[in-house]
Subunit: 347 residues, 2 copies
C-alpha cells in the first residue's frame, strides 16, 4: 500500500511529547507564553464565534465539547469531569483538542490537553490575577491541592509575582504531594491545617476543589476586605464552592456570562446579578480593581477561547520541532470524489 499523502496527515502531540515540550520550554516561561496568547485572544474577544459548551451530564460526571472559531481557525476541546475518578485511579479531568483551518475544515493539530488544560487554566487564573489582585500581593492561599494546585502556584509566581503559597486540602496526602512538588519552585510553601489557617495573610485566595455538589469551601466570615478570590472548582450546574454571601460582597468577573450563569458560582444568584466581562477589563473598557479594600472574585469556569489560545500556542510552538507525530487521520483520494475507489484499491 502507498503511504498516505501530506493532506491525510494531522500532527499529533501525545502526552509524552507535551511533557517534553513543557520541560524543554520550562514551566514558568510556558505559563507566561500561554498567558500571552490568552490575553491576546481576550483582547480580540468580539472576533470569536462563541457558544456555551455542549455538556452531557450523567450521575457520575460530565463530558463536554468546547468549540470556538475566529476567521482563520476553528478549535475545540473534549473534556470530562468525573470527581469520583480519582479514587479509582483515573484523572478527574482528561482532555484532548483539535485546531482546524476554517477555510477548508481540515484539522491541523490534534493534541492531548490534560496537561495543557492544567497549564491554560493556571495561566488564565494568573492573567486575571494580574488585572484584579491587590497591588503587591505576595501570598496566595490554595484550597484544594489536587492536580491543578501546583500549576496555579507556579502561574501566580510567574505572572503575578507571588512568593508564598499556603496550602490546605481535606486530604493531607494531597497537601504533602503539593509541598513535595513545589520544594525547588522558589516559592515559600506552607502546609496549613484548615481553610481558615490557609487564608491567614493571603491577598489572593484560590479555591480548586472537585466535588460535584454545592459545597462551601469559603464561608462569609472567612473573607475580609482587600482580597482577590480565584474560584476555579465551581464549574458545572450544581457544583459551587463559595457561600452566597461572599458573592454578594464581591465584584464578580467572568469569562463568558451565558456559560458562567449556568456553571459558575453565580448560579446561586439572580440571573441579572451584575458581572463584569474580563475581556472588557483587559481592553480597558471596563473597570478592574478600583479600591484596595474591594473583594474581587474571578468566577472561573473555563471558556473555549482559552483552549483555542492554548491550541494556537502549541500549533505554533511545534513547528520545526520533533514534539509531534504525523497521524493518518484524513482520507485523501487522488481524485477527491473517488473515496470509494480509494477504499477498493487499498484491498
Amino acid at each position: 500500500m502507498t503511504q498516505p499523502s501530506q493532506k491525510a496527515l494531522v500532527p499529533f502531540v501525545s502526552v509524552a511529547n507535551m511533557m517534553a515540550l513543557v520541560n524543554a520550554t520550562g514551566i514558568e516561561p510556558m505559563l507566561r507564553d500561554l498567558a500571552g496568547y490568552i490575553e491576546a485572544d481576550f483582547k480580540r474577544w468580539p472576533e470569536f464565534d462563541k457558544t456555551p459548551r455542549v455538556a452531557s451530564h450523567s450521575s457520575d460526571g460530565v463530558i463536554e465539547l468546547m468549540p470556538t472559531a475566529d476567521a482563520d481557525n476553528y478549535g475545540f476541546k473534549y473534556v470530562n469531569g468525573h470527581p469520583k475518578n480519582m479514587k479509582e485511579g483515573y484523572q478527574t479531568v482528561t482532555a484532548f483538542g483539535v485546531l482546524s483551518s476554517v477555510a477548508n475544515g481540515y484539522p491541523i493539530l490534534l493534541t492531548e490537553m490534560t496537561v495543557l488544560t492544567a497549564l491554560r487554566t493556571a495561566a488564565t487564573s494568573a492573567l486575571v490575577g494580574k488585572y484584579l489582585a491587590p497591588k503587591g500581593a505576595r501570598v496566595m492561599a490554595m484550597i484544594g491541592n489536587g492536580a491543578q494546585c501546583e500549576f496555579q502556584a507556579m502561574a501566580f509566581k510567574a505572572i503575578c509575582g507571588i512568593d508564598t503559597v499556603r496550602l490546605y486540602d481535606v486530604d493531607s496526602k494531597a497537601t504533602e504531594k503539593a509541598v513535595r512538588n513545589l520544594t525547588d519552585s522558589g516559592l515559600t510553601v506552607i502546609a496549613c491545617k484548615s481553610g481558615e489557617d490557609a487564608i491567614e495573610g493571603a491577598q489572593i485566595i484560590t479555591t480548586c476543589t472537585a466535588d460535584k455538589q454545592y459545597a462551601t469551601i469559603l464561608t462569609d466570615n472567612m473573607i475580609g476586605t482587600g482580597v482577590h478570590i480565584n474560584a476555579i472548582g465551581g464549574d458545572c450546574p450544581g457544583k459551587t464552592e463559595l457561600h452566597r454571601d461572599i458573592l454578594l460582597r464581591s465584584d464578580i468577573f467572568v469569562e463568558y456570562p451565558p456559560q458562567t450563569r449556568i456553571e459558575g458560582e453565580i448560579q446561586q444568584l439572580d440571573p441579572d446579578h451584575p458581572v463584569t466581562e474580563l475581556w472588557q477589563v483587559m481592553r480597558g473598557e471596563a473597570q478592574g480593581r478600583s479600591d484596595p479594600r474591594q473583594i474581587t472574585l474571578f468566577d472561573s469556569v473555563g471558556f473555549a477561547i482559552e483552549d483555542f489560545s492554548a491550541l494556537r500556542f502549541v500549533h505554533n510552538r511545534i513547528q520545526n520541532t520533533a514534539f509531534f507525530d504525523q497521524l493518518d487521520m484524513l482520507a485523501d483520494p487522488d481524485d477527491p470524489r473517488d473515496l470509494f475507489g480509494m477504499v477498493r484499491r487499498a484491498a
Copy 2:
C-alpha cells in the same frame, strides 16, 4: 522515560486501518452490519441524550460537532462540509470521531470517519429505504456522483435489493468515475445525460449534490407517483436540493426534527409542517409507506446517533484485531492528583 500505562492509551483507527477493515469485512456485509447497528439504535431512540449538532459556519463551509450519549457510552463526530474543497484537491467532507465511557469520561476509541461517514450515510439511507421504498423497487436514480455515490448504490443493493442504478452528474467525469467503480458490483449501471433521463423508471431517487445554496436538482414535474426520494445533499441552512412543490406532495420522514427543520429540505416549509420521525416507523409506532402511489421523502441531514452506531460498530469490530494503533493521548500519573509531578519527572 517509562512507557505510558494502559489507561493512557486510546485505540486509534487510521484511514489505512479503516480501509483494511472495510476490505477484510467486504463492503456489502459491512453496510449491512452498520445498518443493523443503526436500526438497533433507532429502535431505542428515547434512551439517547440528543441535541442538534453544533455548527460553526463560514463563507466557505461549515465545521460541526455531533455529540450524543446513552447510559454507557458517549460519542461525537467532528465533520466539515466545504463544497469548494473538491476543486482544490481536498475532500468536501472529512470527519473523525470518538467514543467514550460515560462512567469515567475516558475515550475508548478515536477513529477516522471520512470513510466511515460515507458508509454510515449510505447504510442509513438504505435502511430507511427498506421501510419506505415501494415494494419490489429495483431501480435507483442517483443524481450527484461524488464521493457518496457508490456507497449509496452498494447499500441499496445490499439492504434493499436494487439491481440497477441510473447515474447523472452535471460533471460527466464524476459519472465516469462511478461507472468505473461499480463495474464489478453486480449492479446494472447506466450513465444518463440528464436528471430527467436518470429518473426514468426509477422507484428510488437519491439526490446527493454538494452546492451550498438553494438548488433545484428535482423539479415538481419530474416526480410522478409511487417513488421514494432519498434526499442526502440538502444538509445545512441555505442548502437544499428539491423544489418546494415536491415537498408539499410528499410524506416527509426525518431523523431528528429540531435539526432537520434547520438544515433539511423542510427549511423551505412552515416550521409546523407535519413530518414523521423514522425511529417511530422502525418501532412500528408510526406509519411508513401506506400506499404504492405515495411519494415518500427521506429528508436526510445525518444525525449523531448514526455516528454513535458506527463508532459502536467499529469499537466492537476491532477487538482482538490489528486494525488499530494505541495512541498515548491521556495523561495517567501514578497518583491521579500528581499531574505536575508526572510532568516534572518526565524531564
